[in-house]
């Protein structure tokens, strides 16, 4: 069965600094990969997704993620963090078969200091 690990429970980054959130997955083949963001009191919003092709994926709000098959990773990055980026971030995987559900990691809480 597939699984997702987000090793960092909580990260604090200074405003303007770069950000990298880690995500590792376990699956026999290449799954579909997603990053979602959840702001306090709000629903989950999709930041970006990877199905195939270019391993560097661009998303909304200036985020990008890189798929590395050799490391079973799909890390999320942003070159310059804004205070409004403070939220909880979830990595998710799905089998590359239509009709399967997303499996989420436990999430990483991002705090932004001024």
């Amino acid at each position: 069965a597939q699984s997702v690990t987000q090793p960092d429970i909580h990260i604090t980054v200074s405003e303007g600094a770069s950000l990298e959130l880690r995500c590792n997955y376990s699956y026999g083949a290449t799954p579909y990969l997603f990053w979602y963001v959840q702001s306090p009191g709000q629903g989950l919003q999709l930041l970006l997704k990877y199905f195939s092709g270019d391993t560097l994926v661009q998303g909304i709000k200036g985020f990008e993620a890189e798929f590395k098959r050799s490391q079973s990773s799909f890390n999320l990055r942003k070159p310059s963090v804004h205070w409004s980026d403070a939220a909880e971030y979830f990595c998710a995987v799905a089998k590359p078969i239509a009709g399967t559900a997303l499996i989420f990691g436990k999430g990483t809480t991002l705090s932004v200091s001024s």
Partner: protein
């Protein structure tokens, strides 16, 4: 375009009481999901519908949980009787098509507290 609408946003009940959550998906989305999110955890799938049919309910605790999606639009998730461990946020999501190829759109969730 309206997003996924859930109600109530908050519910506090005593254990052994029943509770129900309602979800209205985005118009035209044939796939609907109920997830449960425990504090400090990621969402976990409870049930997935394709139109009116529940195609994946393997994680739904069927002794106390039930769900329905009449006419393939709105859905209701019920817990009866509620237990202390059911305290969580219940998230509804919808998508156009099947998960692996379509983005899931989430509602704001229904936060349940069982006392």
């Amino acid at each position: 375009e309206a997003g996924v609408v859930q109600s109530p946003r908050y519910k506090i009940i005593e254990k052994k009481q029943p509770v129900a959550f309602w979800c209205n998906p985005i118009s035209g989305h044939n796939t609907l999901y109920w997830y449960r999110q425990n504090l400090g955890q990621g969402p976990e799938l409870l049930i997935r519908y394709e139109n009116e049919e529940a195609v994946d309910d393997s994680q739904l605790p069927k002794d106390r949980f039930s769900a329905e999606r009449l006419k393939g639009v709105d859905s209701t998730l019920k817990i009866q009787p509620a237990e202390l461990g059911d305290s969580a946020v219940y998230l509804c999501a919808s998508s156009l098509g099947q998960t692996a190829t379509g983005e899931l759109f989430f509602g704001e969730g229904s936060r349940l507290t069982v006392l």
